[in-house]
Subunit: 213 residues, 2 copies
């Protein structure tokens, strides 16, 4: 009875604003995204944005919170399916790769935010990245103590994975264009799909984590 078809539905309006904002912020960045354009994009009055989110920064924080929460939950859920460190690691890489590819706003937002050291939402970015990193670090450390992996600097491996996958996703248009007008001798992996890249990355990270005899 509470879920009739409303012409006025606060939750629906909020959700519509956020989903439109995700699109706009990831395409244009925080500064270039205009609230007038956002209102046009979601077909609501601009004042609604300020009514629900107070100001532009508030909306951006809600956007980042949702995006970071989503990837975090997805990775945590996937991680639960495995127990062996090597499988958990593979799950981490593949899940992030899949998510980044099907939600390309994530790498765009993340790289923009990280390149400013979290200029707009430092605390939230910080806590979210910390939690993901803690999960990742834990996988490596457990693998190490079980003898599956050699000693490693988890922070470097974390950035290696996120850096590579984020760049692969965000530069895809650039690399496809390159493959059209470039000589064939330079392979930009334009045709590689994300699972192929993730497999390749996993294979190489396994090599790095092999115990040195």
């Amino acid at each position: 009875m509470s879920k009739k078809i409303h012409k006025r539905d606060a939750e629906a309006s909020k959700a519509l604003i956020i989903s439109s904002a995700i699109q706009l912020f990831s395409q244009k960045g925080y500064a270039s995204a205009s609230m007038d354009e956002l209102a046009k994009l979601c077909g609501l009055n601009k004042a609604m944005v300020f009514y629900y989110f107070k100001n532009k920064k508030g909306l951006y924080e809600a956007v980042m919170a949702q995006v970071l929460e989503e990837i975090q939950q997805t990775i945590i859920e996937e991680n639960k399916k495995y127990t062996k460190p090597i499988e958990e690691l593979e799950s981490f890489i593949h899940t992030y790769a899949q998510f980044a590819c099907s939600h390309p706003y994530l790498p765009a937002l993340l790289l923009k935010e990280l390149s400013d050291s979290g200029a707009v939402v430092p605390e939230m970015l910080f806590s979210s990245m910390r939690q993901l990193f803690a999960l990742f670090s834990d996988i490596l450390k457990r693998g190490e103590s079980k003898g599956c992996f050699g000693a490693s600097k988890p922070m470097v491996f974390y950035f290696m994975i996120l850096g590579t996958l984020n760049l692969i996703v965000t530069t895809k248009p650039l690399r496809i264009e390159a493959s059209r007008k470039e000589d064939i001798s330079l392979d930009t992996c334009a045709k590689c799909d994300i699972d192929e890249i993730a497999d390749y990355l996993m294979k190489n990270i396994k090599k790095m984590l092999k115990e040195n005899k």
Copy 2:
């Protein structure tokens, strides 16, 4: 005789504008950098910016051209000192790491630009990244044909190196802050210097490039 002390020196003014713009663009990004603020920053009249660089985009292009040219030349010069692929690879990684650390605007500008797929200066970014990648790819391919390295996807390795080093540099403030208020169990490499990271990266990339028997 041509290099007296001028009160009006076009070249000096241009250079001052560019160096201030590098600082401003890398801190704020293209959209948030204001030309009024730039003028204040370098102590010149705002109209000078438009006099020398036509418009904001023209200035940004000059900035990116200078920054990309600088890193490219530095890497090419360093590369000339070596002949063995493994030394060239080490030189590539260390030179990029050193440069990125002492010119932290490079990672900031590069990540911002790449996360937009080169929204502001696509052709220039494209050609510059292509040349650096060609050099890198060539090192791996020569190593492969000489038998020092196993087969590899250079594009993925390229992003692995640039992605890791750029993130290490841009997140440094964030990681230092983290190490102060976090539990010690989670190592964010806050104290690592860039050469240590570059060494570690090189060591692991060597493992990945070892021929599979």
